[in-house]
C-alpha cells in the first residue's frame, strides 16, 4: 500500500503548498505568474528535448508488428490497416492508435477454468476507460480556451455547447467533467482491485492519476460548489496568454491550488511516463509500413562483418565434397 499512499500524500502536500503560500505568504505573484511560466517552459522545452532525443536515434530495422495479412499475391486480400504496405497507411495505423486506441480495443482477458482450460473473454473496459479519460481531458483542456481568448472561436463554442447539452444544473453540467472523474476513478480502482495490476503498478502510475483527480475535483468544485469569481481568473489567463507580467487581482486560494497542480503536471510530463503522448508516434512496430521485402530499408550504422566465405568453407571440406560428387571451385 506504500506504493499508493506515497503518491497520495505527495499530491496532498503539493496541494497545500499554494494554499499556504497564498493564505499566509501572500505569494500571489509567484503562483500566478512565475510558476505558470516556468512550468510551461519546462513542458515545451522538455518535450522538445525528448522528441529530438528520440528522433536523432536511428531506426536500423523495419520491424512493424504485423496484425493482418501482408500485401502479397494479387488475389490474396491484404489488410492495409494492420499490415500497411505504404507510409500513408502506416500513418493511418498510428492515428488509429492515437485517436481510437486501436490495439487496446483488441484486449482480451484470459482466465483458467476447470479442466484446466484457458478461456479468453473480450475485455474492452480498459479501452473504454482509457478512451473516456483521454478524450474528456482533451475536451476539458480545449474548453479552457474560453479563459485565454477574448472571443471564442466557433468550433470551441460548438464543442462547449455539445459538452453542456445535459442542462441539469446551474451552471450547466459539462458531460466531460463527470466522465473524467468517473474514468479516473475507474483507472485507479482497476489498479487496486486486480492482483496482477497491484504487482505491476508503481507509485509513478498512481501519482499522475491522483494529480489529474485532484485537478479535476478542484476545478469542478470551483465551478459548481464554491462558484469562484471568474472575472479575475479570466484577467489572469489573458495576462498569461499575452505573455504579460501584471500582478493578478485577488482570487481565492482554491484557484491557486488548481493552477499549481496543473503546473506540477505540465512540468512532470517530460520526465515521466506521460511522455507516452509523444512516444506513441515513434513506435517502430506501428509507424513503419510492412514492405521490407519490396523496398530496402537502410540501416545508417550497418556494421562491416567478416563472415565465413564459401572459399574458406570449401578449403576445409574440399576433399569430402569431391568424394561426394559435390561440385567445387578449385580442384
Amino acid at each position: 500500500m506504500k506504493k499508493v499512499l506515497k503518491p497520495l500524500i505527495a499530491v496532498i502536500v503539493l496541494a497545500l503548498i499554494p494554499w499556504v503560500g497564498i493564505t499566509y505568504g501572500k505569494l500571489d505573484y509567484v503562483f500566478a505568474i512565475v510558476i505558470p511560466y516556468a512550468a510551461a517552459a519546462i513542458l515545451i522545452l522538455g518535450l522538445l528535448f525528448r522528441l529530438v532525443d528520440w528522433l536523432r536515434r536511428p531506426v536500423p530495422f523495419r520491424i512493424p508488428t504485423t496484425c493482418g495479412q501482408e500485401k502479397s499475391l494479387d488475389w490474396v486480400k491484404p489488410n492495409p490497416l494492420e499490415s500497411p504496405s505504404n507510409p500513408f497507411m502506416a500513418a493511418v495505423r498510428v492515428l488509429s492508435e492515437v485517436l481510437l486506441f486501436r490495439s487496446l480495443f483488441r484486449n482480451t482477458k484470459a482466465e483458467l477454468s476447470g479442466g484446466p482450460r484457458l478461456v479468453y473473454g473480450s475485455h474492452k473496459w480498459l479501452w473504454l476507460g482509457g478512451l473516456a479519460f483521454h478524450w474528456s481531458m482533451l475536451i476539458i483542456v480545449i474548453r479552457h480556451a474560453r479563459f485565454f481568448l477574448e472571443t471564442l472561436p466557433m468550433p470551441i463554442e460548438l464543442l462547449e455547447t455539445a459538452d453542456r447539452f445535459l442542462d441539469v444544473t446551474v451552471p450547466a453540467l459539462y458531460l466531460t467533467d463527470g466522465l473524467a472523474l468517473a474514468a479516473i476513478t475507474f483507472l485507479v480502482l482497476r489498479r487496486l482491485s486486480d492482483e496482477k495490476m497491484r504487482l505491476l503498478s508503481l507509485s509513478t502510475d498512481y501519482f499522475p492519476l491522483f494529480l489529474f483527480g485532484a485537478i479535476a475535483t478542484i476545478g469542478i468544485s470551483m465551478r459548481y460548489v464554491t462558484k469562484v469569481n471568474v472575472m479575475p481568473v479570466k484577467a489572469l489567463a489573458l495576462t498569461l496568454a499575452h505573455f504579460g507580467f501584471d500582478a493578478p487581482e485577488p482570487i481565492g486560494a482554491l484557484f491557486y491550488v488548481h493552477l499549481f497542480l496543473v503546473c506540477v503536471l505540465l512540468a512532470y510530463v517530460p520526465f515521466s511516463k506521460l511522455v507516452h503522448m509523444g512516444g506513441i508516434f515513434l513506435s517502430p512496430t506501428r509507424n513503419l509500413p510492412n514492405n521490407s521485402r519490396a523496398k530496402r530499408h537502410v540501416n545508417p550504422w550497418n556494421p562491416d562483418i567478416k563472415f565465413r566465405t564459401y572459399a574458406e568453407y570449401e578449403d576445409e571440406f574440399r576433399e569430402k565434397m569431391k568424394k561426394a560428387g559435390i561440385p567445387v571451385e578449385k580442384q
Partner: protein, 550 residues
C-alpha cells in the same frame, strides 16, 4: 511422458485446477516484484555455452558454470560493460529507447504471454519483464527518476539483477504476441534481443543457442553437418520418396547456373518430422520441373544469431546472398521456417543487401511476379505453392490426406513479423479435406507460441517449455474435442521439433506435420505407383491395397 526436467502432466493439471480462475501462482499480497527471489531449479534454465563454443565464436568469458551456481564468475568490470552496452544500444536503436520511455503499465499485455499463462510467475508478464530492465535504465540513464529512486521503481544493477535477466529473458520466445495488444506498440521481443546481446557481452548465455550458431558459421547448418553428410541425408530421403511413390526425384547440390537457390532450415533435412516436409518440397519441385539447387554451404535457413546479437545474425545470414551470388541463381526460394522468415522479411536486405545481383522473382511455372519480394528477392514457399495451385499447375488429390483431420498453427514470426496468414491456409485447404481453425484468440496475429522458440528448445528446459506451450496445447485440445482434430500443421521447423513433445505431454494422439508434407502426400506424380501410404509410410484412408473400385 516422463522427463526429469518436467513435472508430470497430471501434477501440472492439478496446479492449474487449484489456482483457477487465477493466473498468478502464489500469494503476492503486500509484496513488490523486486523483492521476489529468483530460483533456478531443474527444468527452468538452459545449460550455458561450453567454453570451446565461446572460443570458436570469440565471445566473452568462456568458463564452466551453471545457473544454479552462487557465483557466476562474471568478468571484472561487468557492470561497466553492461552499462556501456546499454548506452550504446539505446543510441543505435530508437526502438529500445522509446520502449524504455513510453510504457504506462496499463497491464494489457499481462495475460497475453504464453509463459505467464503457463507459469503464473508475475515476472513473466511482459510489462514486468521489461521493467526488469527499465528499473535499471531509470536508475542509470534518467536523472529525475534517480532522484526519486523508490518512488519511480528504479534499482541498482547487481549480480542478482543479471541472474533475473538471464532467467526471464530466456523465458521469452520473442513471439511478439504482447506487442499486438500494446497501445504503445512496445515489443518485448526487441527488449529481449537487446538484453540477450548484453548478457552475451559478459558470458551469460545458452548453449542451445550458441552451439548451433557456431556450427552454422563453420559448416553452414545448426547441427554441424559437413557437406557430404548433408548430401547423403537428402539422398536417403530421395530413396524414401521412391519407396513410397515409385518416383525418383533428382535434387542437385551447389549447382552453378540453376535458376533458383532453395534454402530451408536444416531441421527439415535431419529432424523427424521435418524430413517429411523436405520430402514434400522435393516432390513438388520434381512435379513442376523446377530448375533449382540446394547449397551445402548455405544449408541453413534458421539463424540462431538472431537470438544472440545483431552482428552474429548478420554474419550467419550473409551466407545466403554470398552463395546465391556465387551460384549465379536468379532468386532464392525459402522453406517453411519461423524466425528465418522474420529475418528474411525484416532484416536480410537491410543487413546484407542490396541484392542487385539477383533478379526480381518470377515464378518460372506461372509467370507470376512476386512484387512483394522485389527487393529482397526471396520468396516464401507457401507464397510460391499457393500461386501454383491458384494457376492450376499442380495435380492434387486431397483425398490422400483423408486420414488426417487438421488444424493450422500460425508460427509467431511468420504471423507477427511478416503478416502471412492466407497463403498457407489456402494451400492446406487445397491439399486436404478436413480442416478446422482453433479459437480466434489463439490463431493468426493472436497465435500462441509453441513455447520453445528463440533457442529455448533444450531438453533441460522441459518444465518451462511445457508450461509455455500450454496455451497452444489448450487450443489444440479444444479442436480435438470438438472436431476430432488429430493433425497439427505448421510452417516452422522449430514447431516441428518442439510441438511433438508438447502434444505428447498435453494432447497425446495429436501428430505434427509440415504444410508441404501434406502437399507431398496429395501430389499426383507422373509415373507414380499406386499410392497406399503417405510419406510417413502410414496407410492413407480409402487407398487400401485391395480396394480397386476407387
Amino acid at each position: 511422458m516422463s522427463n526429469k526436467y518436467a513435472i508430470k502432466p497430471d501434477e501440472l493439471r492439478k496446479e492449474f485446477e487449484q489456482k483457477k480462475p487465477r493466473l498468478l501462482k502464489g500469494d503476492f499480497a503486500g509484496k513488490d516484484w523486486w523483492d521476489l527471489p529468483v530460483e533456478f531449479r531443474d527444468g527452468n534454465w538452459c545449460f550455458p555455452a561450453k567454453p570451446e563454443v565461446l572460443e570458436e565464436l570469440h565471445f566473452a568469458n568462456p568458463r564452466k558454470w551453471a545457473a544454479t551456481d552462487k557465483d557466476w564468475q562474471l568478468p571484472a568490470g561487468w557492470e561497466k560493460t553492461i552499462r556501456d552496452g546499454m548506452k550504446d544500444r539505446l543510441k543505435r536503436f530508437r526502438s529500445f529507447k522509446v520502449f524504455m520511455d513510453s510504457c504506462v503499465r496499463c497491464g494489457a499485455c499481462a495475460d497475453k504471454c504464453h509463459f505467464f499463462l503457463g507459469t503464473g510467475d508475475p515476472k513473466n508478464m511482459p510489462v514486468l519483464r521489461a521493467e526488469l530492465v527499465r528499473s535499471v535504465y531509470r536508475n542509470d540513464f534518467t536523472t529525475f527518476a534517480k532522484i526519486l529512486k523508490n518512488f519511480s521503481g528504479s534499482r541498482a544493477l547487481t549480480a542478482d539483477v543479471i541472474k533475473e535477466w538471464h532467467m526471464y529473458f530466456h523465458q521469452c520466445t520473442e513471439c511478439r504476441r504482447c506487442s499486438v495488444f500494446c497501445p504503445m506498440g512496445i515489443d518485448t521481443a526487441e527488449i529481449t534481443m537487446m538484453v540477450r546481446e548484453l548478457l552475451n557481452l559478459i558470458g551469460v548465455n545458452n548453449n542451445w543457442i550458441l552451439a548451433p550458431a557456431a556450427n552454422c558459421n563453420r559448416t553452414g547448418n545448426h547441427l554441424g553437418i559437413e557437406p557430404h553428410t548433408f548430401e547423403q541425408n537428402i539422398m536417403s530421403l530421395v530413396d524414401d520418396i521412391e519407396d513410397v511413390t515409385g518416383v525418383r526425384v533428382n535434387p542437385t547440390f551447389n549447382r552453378k547456373g540453376a535458376e533458383i537457390l532453395f534454402i530451408t532450415p536444416s531441421g527439415d533435412v535431419f529432424g523427424d518430422p521435418g524430413v517429411y516436409t523436405m520430402m514434400g518440397y522435393l516432390l513438388l519441385f520434381h512435379h513442376i520441373g523446377l530448375d533449382y539447387t540446394i547449397s551445402t554451404y548455405a544449408s541453413e535457413g534458421g539463424n540462431f544469431g538472431m537470438f544472440t546479437s545483431n552482428e552474429m545474425m548478420k554474419k550467419i545470414n550473409a551466407k545466403m546472398y554470398h552463395e546465391a551470388k556465387r551460384l549465379g541463381v536468379k532468386w532464392i526460394l525459402g522453406g517453411e521456417c519461423g524466425h528465418m522468415w522474420r529475418l528474411v522479411h525484416q532484416y536480410m536486405n537491410t543487413m546484407n543487401g542490396p541484392a542487385d545481383f539477383l533478379k526480381e522473382p518470377v515464378s518460372p511455372i506461372t509467370g507470376t511476379k512476386f512484387t512483394n519480394a522485389k527487393a529482397t528477392r526471396m520468396v516464401h514457399i507457401a507464397e510460391f505453392t499457393a500461386d501454383l495451385i491458384k494457376h492450376g499447375k499442380l495435380k492434387l488429390d486431397p483425398k490422400r490426406n483423408d486420414h488426417l483431420r487438421t488444424t493450422f498453427h500460425d508460427s509467431c514470426n511468420v504471423a507477427r513479423g511478416m503478416g502471412m496468414f492466407e497463403e498457407p491456409r489456402y494451400v492446406l485447404n487445397k491439399v486436404c479435406n478436413v480442416f478446422h481453425e482453433m479459437p480466434e484468440n489463439t490463431i493468426r496475429e493472436q497465435t500462441f507460441c509453441c513455447g520453445s522458440g528463440s533457442g529455448l528448445n533444450a531438453e533441460e528446459f522441459m518444465d518451462i517449455r511445457m508450461r509455455g506451450g500450454f496455451p497452444r496445447a489448450n487450443a489444440v485440445a479444444h479442436v480435438r474435442e470438438k472436431h476430432k482434430v488429430d493433425s497439427l500443421v505448421t510452417i516452422c521447423a522449430i514447431d516441428r521439433a518442439s510441438l511433438p513433445a508438447l502434444m505428447r505431454y498435453w494432447n497425446p494422439g495429436v501428430t505434427v506435420y509440415g504444410l508441404h508434407e501434406l502437399v507431398g502426400n496429395a501430389l499426383i506424380m507422373q509415373g507414380e505407383k499406386k499410392r497406399t501410404e503417405d510419406l510417413r509410410e502410414n496407410p492413407m484412408a480409402g487407398f487400401e491395397e485391395d480396394e480397386d473400385d476407387e
